[in-house]
Symmetry: C2
Subunit: 385 residues, 2 copies
């Protein structure tokens, strides 16, 4: 029987702490009322769950107030809300050459349909961004800087603190895509001078799919249009969207059981401690990279030093198709990886793997050295076939 080794944590974390399932089940069995709608005790209890999750995430990301944490269906919706909500015709945006399509597609959409312009600041072949380069592309009408915190292709970390200072000095809005870092690296909303910090719930935060959101500064919250308008359970006498937080950006019924699960995931991370999680990731990544070098004829992308990246590693084996390799790893060895372009054509252009892509291994909290050993053996065997 195959061992089912999961190396696709950049897509979603497959294994969750027991507490996550328990929190979801408990919500279903004991509450399962619509939060923020009725005023009966179980509806209030449901609302309390959401508020607790909001407070927890505010603390986790160092956001001044819980109502600055907004829940969405996923981080793509969060980034769309920020990008489409903050921009007006004539605005110019700066971004990086390592963005995911969750940033690239809204920007391209806005350029083609809503009269905005943008420049993607080039990164090195390792995916590294020189913060000073951003200034070279600044224009008088630059209004927004949007950057991933770490690439979903190579794991390369972008220096968001430096970017935040550049944005602050120029009074640009600063939006961070923390899809690949929240739950592994410390992500500090205030220290980064962020206006929007978009997060996904189901990756390294260990919550279920169907959760995500963003933290927002008061000045961004005031300026941004909501993407979705509708019932909020508040000021129901008016057909106008409320202008206060979080209601301005949260319409319709929340994924309340999912949010209960997300809170349990984040609590689990806090209990373990991000330092320990990061140390585990660095150890495995370093070990994996070393093993890959020893096999030979394998190109490993991203920065050579593990501390400059997350636990996501992209490779190619000379003369081999990465989709076929991914298939063989799954079929013969039960090892789950993701080949291709990873919804990030810009990043692959940057690292010169476009359009063929790479074979991606993305590690998570539950991966072990034994699994790395097994994967290395499998790659060795496949390289020789």
């Amino acid at each position: 029987m195959k061992p089912w080794i999961y190396f696709d944590n950049a897509a979603t974390s497959r294994h969750k702490p027991a507490g996550v399932y328990e929190a979801i089940e408990k919500f279903f069995r004991e509450i399962n009322c619509n939060p923020g709608r009725g005023a009966y005790s179980l509806a209030l209890e449901a609302g309390r769950h959401i508020l607790e999750a909001r407070s927890l995430l505010a603390k986790f990301f160092n956001v001044p107030k819980p109502n600055q944490v907004i829940f969405t269906a996923n981080i793509t919706q969060a980034l769309n809300t920020a990008i489409k909500g903050l921009l007006r015709p004539g605005d110019h945006v700066l971004t990086t050459g390592m963005e995911h399509n969750a940033v690239a597609r809204p920007l391209t959409w806005m350029r083609d349909n809503c009269g905005i312009e943008f420049d993607a600041v080039p990164c090195s072949k390792e995916g590294l961004l020189e913060p000073g380069d951003v200034i070279k592309f600044a224009r008088r009408n630059t209004k927004l800087l949007v950057s991933t915190h770490a690439s979903n292709v190579t794991g390369t970390i972008i220096p968001i603190t430096e970017l935040g200072l550049i944005a602050k000095e120029r009074e640009w809005f600063f939006v961070i895509d923390a899809a690949q870092t929240a739950g592994v690296l410390p992500v500090d909303f205030q220290a980064a001078n962020a206006d929007v910090l978009a997060f996904t719930g189901h990756k390294h935060l260990l919550g279920p799919m169907g959760t995500g959101g963003f933290c927002i500064s008061l000045r961004a919250a005031e300026h941004a249009y909501p993407l979705v308008t509708g019932g909020t359970g508040s000021i129901s006498d008016r057909e106008y969207q409320p202008d206060f937080l979080p209601d301005k950006f949260e319409s319709g019924t929340s994924n309340a059981p999912g949010i209960a699960g997300l809170a349990a995931g984040v609590n689990h991370l806090i209990q373990i401690g991000l330092e320990k999680i990061r140390a585990h990731e660095l150890e495995l990544t370093g070990y994996f990279r070393l093993g890959l070098e020893q096999i030979g004829a394998i190109t490993v992308y991203g920065p050579g030093k593990p501390e400059l990246a997350t636990g996501t590693i992209s490779i190619n084996i000379a003369q081999r198709d990465n989709a076929d390799l991914s298939f063989q790893l799954d079929d013969q060895f039960g090892i789950m990886t993701r080949p291709g372009l990873h919804c990030a054509p810009w990043a692959h252009q940057t690292i010169s793997t476009f359009p063929g892509g790479t074979l991606r291994f993305s590690l998570g909290i539950y991966n072990t050295k034994d699994e790395i050993d097994f994967a290395l053996k499998a790659l060795k065997a496949l390289r020789q076939t």
Copy 2:
């Protein structure tokens, strides 16, 4: 100990069939991979779950093809996608005086910010719409007719088949908000000549909160802009949103476990049969209305005949504040209801209960005659206090 009687099914269905929880747990434990991203067997298995749910809902709503079913976080996002995506500056919209804020707020937003106009066709005090009245408000630039299928305040059913014919004849797009009917009344996408049929997963379809979506005609799919753009796992070599279904309207990671639960809920409904569900609802509603009349001094809103409405009943007791009544029902009797305006100021204006609102009892598949008896006794007691 209080019995916990739940009469807030118009907000969400609190009790779900066992199969719903089982499907979610099974997905979590056995699959829990990101659908439509990787190509390993468990990712494909996750994708198969989503496709099966799509096929099931296509069959349930009589939609030509599964890819015309789009999943969203909730019905509010579905209605926003339809309304904001289909309209262009200068367009005129027709809607009804019974709409929820999930329709009223996007329309108001578009009027104030995007140069559209709209008219809400007045309904009677019972919430009934005379289809012919719609034509009186038509303009040369009318492009869209959007209507609820049944009011979330009075349960009043709107004749969507007649509206669909009117829209078809004039080549307007026709959007239906089936939040209150999907799972109780037959909702036939093709028979209604609908362009968009928006549904919620967690009300009468018995799925979990965090699910919803819409069915879309090919002509509407071609014309509508997507609200959210980003990673779709498809044509990843391009920073442009795919133009094919369902990807055009589905970006970012789906609520895959929730969708598995939704499919189980819909399968349960199919097994019981909508006719039986509707008969149960009609029986309880008729019985409840009769009991309310017998108590006296209670105003019951909506049409007198139960067959003209769903199982949602709004009342007021003379001289009594409905918020206080709702509190007492919960506190003293464990009966969950929702007072106020129900995110539907227009509907309350129509039935002349604005801004005080009503006390709403919304029945569901699991309510019983005994529960109605208990509620009637409680109301009688409260009326006299």
